[in-house]
């Protein structure tokens, strides 16, 4: 490379990518491509909102690429899930506060409504009846999405994503003992929710 080119790169701040860098970026692209669908499903199960889920996955991917792309590739999976799960938890906390305010603000309005208006819509079938109409796959997915957040995270990371206990603990930001507890409760919950279909 000529000295002029080197000076030009310094002035413009751009540096030509080395082959090792190119290979690393291809690996990063492959990793994110492999994990993106499952990451989206996890976020959607937690939020039950496709737009929120996409926003969370986007934030997680950007933050992961900025902070952890230099880390060894064997650490990528737990680190990525840690970023994603942190964002999901932050979202859940914000929702909790928002719902508290919403409940408090609408308390007065609800008090004035007719009891008939608060009754369930007869046009909408009760939840049990709705469940009957769901396909088996949807029923299973719904059971997972209805788990409490920490149990859901433990189940999805450990059983679906295939992380080991230590990696799951790293991703969830808790001890390995807590992972085992959350997972055990998740499996118990799933069994009891689905026992009529899986005696």
């Amino acid at each position: 490379m000529s000295s002029f080119t080197a000076i030009n790169h310094w002035m413009t701040g751009s540096v030509p990518e080395a082959p090792a860098e190119q290979s690393r970026h291809r690996a990063l692209d492959a990793f994110l491509g492999d994990v993106e669908r499952r990451a989206y499903v996890m976020a959607e199960m937690a939020t039950r909102d496709p737009d929120e889920a996409l926003d969370l996955v986007q934030d997680a991917m950007f933050a992961f690429a900025r902070r952890y792309a230099d880390k060894p590739q064997v650490e990528w999976a737990p680190l990525f899930h840690r970023v994603l799960q942190n964002r999901i938890r932050d979202w859940a906390r914000r929702q909790k506060v928002r719902n508290r305010w919403r409940t408090w603000l609408h308390r007065g309005e609800d008090a004035g409504e007719e009891p008939l208006e608060q009754a369930p819509d007869p046009a909408v079938p009760p939840i049990e009846q709705q469940l009957d109409h769901l396909e088996a796959t949807e029923r299973l997915q719904q059971a997972v999405s209805e788990l409490p957040l920490r149990q859901q995270q433990a189940f999805l990371l450990r059983v679906w994503e295939g992380l080991n206990v230590a990696q799951t603990a790293q991703a969830m930001g808790c001890s390995q003992g807590s992972v085992k507890t959350h997972l055990s409760r998740a499996l118990g919950n799933l069994r009891s929710r689905l026992e009529e279909y899986h005696p």
Partner: protein, 120 residues
């Protein structure tokens, strides 16, 4: 080893991940490309502010390395010729200085001899 229920749950989740709609997949692809681009940019390009800060730091270190040398008032090792410089600056007669050094040497020798004699 996963039990049948777990296996069924995994398959159900896999199906859900595979059946994502086109719009979602398209956005995921865009996000991924942007994330990889961010990682690439971050490594190959230092922000202008950081480059300026780096240059400033290097200049600061250079000044810090040179500054003590410029302001050193008490040399740790006597350097030959320093006395002459001092004499020249103070404008003192060289003979007086030589005499003083001689008397200093003489007193050191004399004291040593006296001490030895006293102890003998």
């Amino acid at each position: 080893m996963k039990n049948p229920l777990q296996q069924e749950l995994i398959e159900a989740l896999d199906r859900r991940a595979q059946d994502l709609d086109g719009a979602t997949l398209s956005r995921l692809r865009r996000v991924r490309a942007e994330a990889v681009q961010q990682a690439s940019t971050r490594r190959s390009r230092l922000p202008g502010g950081w480059r300026l800060a780096g240059a400033g730091l290097a200049l600061g270190l250079l000044v810090a390395a040179l500054l003590p040398g410029l302001h050193q008032t008490t040399p740790t090792q006597p350097v030959p010729g320093d006395e002459l410089l001092e004499v020249a600056i103070l404008d003192v007669d060289l003979e007086v200085v030589e005499d003083l050094e001689f008397y200093e040497w003489l007193s050191e020798q004399g004291l040593g001899e006296t001490g030895d004699e006293g102890s003998a």
